[in-house]
């Protein structure tokens, strides 16, 4: 059976700043938590055949994240891009992605990272799955294909859970489950010369403007301010053994090691 796998990607801001940031390849990168999802999709394609589509919502200059995905082996990229999408919270983002995914049907799997490096809610995967009425497993470590069902494994609090789910389904992929491949130079050339990114706007998705972007968001950010953590440096004294003992005791006391 050949798969059509859709991977949802975000380009995230590299470092927060007090000034508004223009999302561009200089200020952004492909969300590191999406890389394992991408790698999972590419391995499945290599093993079982099929195609992989990368889908991203963001401004035009986030296109590079899709090109990077295509350089890794993704077959096509879709950027949903419209000024109406600006200021979206996770619900409005999921609404937009769900509409794009429907337009990409038929598909077998929709993969997400577990969260993003710049907002860290972990909501977009699950919300999109609910909107599409898809079965969902989060934090997936491995996938086995058995025809119309797949068996997936996730681990939670030192328990391993196994699920068998029907396709189509949605999964969020655990960040430590797999190491993403390096981007090779041939891949980059092929991505830019032979592949293309489709651009869809509000009209293409058939959504009304009050369901997307800031208007379609159910949450509002009141304010964002920088928290500067006070760092302090302490120097332990005594023999090496004493210092090691003391360090271990302190780490254990503060709950950092168990």
């Amino acid at each position: 059976m050949k798969f059509h796998i859709i991977v949802c990607l975000k380009s995230v801001i590299l470092s927060m700043s007090d000034k508004p940031i223009d999302r561009s390849p200089d200020s952004c990168e492909l969300n590191p938590f999406d890389r394992p999802a991408l790698e999972t999709a590419l391995r499945m394609k290599e093993k079982y055949g099929g195609i992989v589509t990368a889908l991203s919502m963001g401004p035009e200059n986030c296109m590079f994240a899709l090109y990077e995905a295509m350089a890794m082996g993704v077959d096509q990229g879709v950027l949903v891009c419209d000024s109406a999408f600006a200021g979206a919270d996770t619900l409005a983002t999921s609404t937009t992605l769900a509409a794009a995914i429907k337009k990409l049907a038929p598909f077998d799997l929709v993969l997400f990272g577990t969260r993003t490096a710049d907002s860290d809610t972990g909501q977009v995967g699950p919300q999109t799955a609910v909107l599409l009425d898809l079965q969902l497993v989060t934090g997936v470590q491995s996938i086995e294909n058995h025809g119309s069902v797949i068996r997936v494994e996730r681990s939670m609090d030192s328990f391993r859970e196994k699920y068998e789910i029907f396709l189509p389904a949605a999964l969020t992929i655990h960040p430590n489950s797999i190491q993403a491949r390096d981007v090779g130079l041939i891949g980059i050339e092929v991505a830019f010369e032979d592949k293309e990114v489709k651009k869809w706007n509000l009209l293409d998705l058939g959504l009304s403007s009050d369901r997307v972007g800031e208007a379609g968001s159910s949450t509002r950010v009141n304010s964002v301010s920088r928290v500067d953590k006070e760092r302090k440096c302490e120097i332990l004294t005594g023999t090496n053994e004493d210092q090691i003992e003391e360090l271990i005791r302190r780490l254990a006391d503060s709950g950092l090691i168990g």
Partner: protein, 381 residues
């Protein structure tokens, strides 16, 4: 820094940088110290097509342009200049001349393995008695039975010499024809009579196996002649125009690494109650380093853009190489200065940058020869 470049350029930079920061940067000090060539990393670079960046896709390369090529060399050299040297020499003065001057058969025979990094290329011009004066080489290739050349050569300072499989030898096919008697013959490692000398114990670029290679009555098929007999100097000059751009990019990469280290150190080191970055004398150095580095980088990009547009780029390439190599020397010197005594110690990488930068003013044409060429072009004499 790259906002004026294309998305493709930026993805090339980001991916090469990510790879080199993970695989090369952490071992750069160690392999310099041990003078060890890191095959384990180079093999991975081969799979990512770093050894075939400008080779057409039909021959197994990536088919990228010169701007991407200099970004590649800059980024590798920022992590490890010795490997930057390996990749630039391979691409620009070994693979490129085969692509530009080789027959279809020669390209099909050698290029795919070179592009995949399965075979490494070398450029063998310099001899004990012929350095700057390339036309003074003494190596000879004499046709014997009509199907072979018998080649005798003593080539020194061959970058990649200890590991190279496919070597471009500059030889005299006609001893009486002077400059017009020089030809390029491709000699494969393993040909009887092909002897690799000891590795040079170098001041910098220590992870590159630079060595001498001697050919003793090596019988080489006549099909290995690149271009026509007597075309050697032209091939060499064309290769060096491209090669110099690569060396310039290498110098920029080294200087970039030195600037980053200097900035990091200046913010962290405290003297007289403040970070030394607050002292104006240190700030002046940082300002000069940043400005000269950018100027050098822009000269290199200009040369690459001209080459991609099919415009003459020889002068641009010579200026870029000359200025970038001088800049790398100055910037790494200032980085050592900002580190004080620690800069002179192997505990920090700047002393390596300082050593590595030095040779960029010597190889692929010394600073003096470059100025001579630039002056001649400028004066029109």
């Amino acid at each position: 820094m790259d906002s004026f470049l294309s998305e493709k350029n930026r993805i090339v930079r980001q991916s090469v940088r990510a790879f080199c920061e993970r695989e090369l940067m952490p071992i750069a000090g160690e392999i310099d110290n041990e003078a060890r060539f890191p095959w384990e990393v180079v093999e991975k670079m081969g799979k990512l097509c770093y050894f075939g960046i400008q080779v057409p896709r039909t021959l197994g390369g990536a088919g990228l342009d010169s701007v991407n090529y200099i970004i590649l060399i800059e980024e590798i050299s920022r992590a490890c200049a010795s490997i930057g040297l390996c990749v630039t020499v391979h691409n620009s003065v070994a693979v490129y001349p085969i692509l530009a001057f080789g027959s279809e058969e020669q390209k099909r025979k050698w290029v795919p393995a070179l592009a995949a990094g399965e075979k490494i290329g070398a450029f063998c011009l310099t001899e004990p008695n012929a350095g700057s004066d390339a036309a003074g080489i003494e190596a000879t290739a004499i046709r014997d039975d009509g199907n072979h050349y018998v080649v005798n050569a003593n080539k020194v300072f061959v970058t990649n010499g200890g590991i190279a499989d496919i070597c471009l030898f500059f030889v005299r096919t006609d001893p009486r024809a002077g400059r017009r008697g020089i030809s390029v013959i491709v000699v494969e490692r393993g040909t009887p009579g092909f002897v690799v000398g000891d590795l040079e114990d170098l001041c910098g670029m220590r992870a590159n196996p630079v060595s001498s290679i001697r050919l003793y009555d090596c019988r080489v098929p006549k099909e290995n002649l690149l271009g026509a007999e007597g075309a050697g100097l032209n091939i060499g000059l064309a290769a060096l125009d491209t090669g110099r751009m690569g060396i310039a990019a290498q110098a920029v990469g080294i200087a970039q690494a030195a600037l980053e280290e200097a900035v990091r150190y200046a913010k962290q080191r405290r003297q007289f109650g403040v970070a030394i970055a607050k002292h104006q004398a240190v700030q002046m150095m940082i300002a000069d380093m940043a400005t000269q580095l950018d100027a050098a980088r822009l000269l290199v990009y200009r040369a690459a853009v001209l080459r991609d547009k099919g415009k003459p780029f020889s002068q641009a390439s010579a200026m870029a190489k000359n200025y970038a190599s001088e800049t790398a020397s100055k910037v790494t010197d200032m980085a050592v200065q900002i580190h004080g005594g620690y800069g002179y110690s192997k505990s920090y990488p700047v002393e390596r940058y300082y050593r590595d930068a030095r040779v960029t003013r010597i190889y692929e044409g010394t600073a003096e020869i470059h100025r001579m060429v630039i002056a001649r072009n400028t004066l029109g004499i």
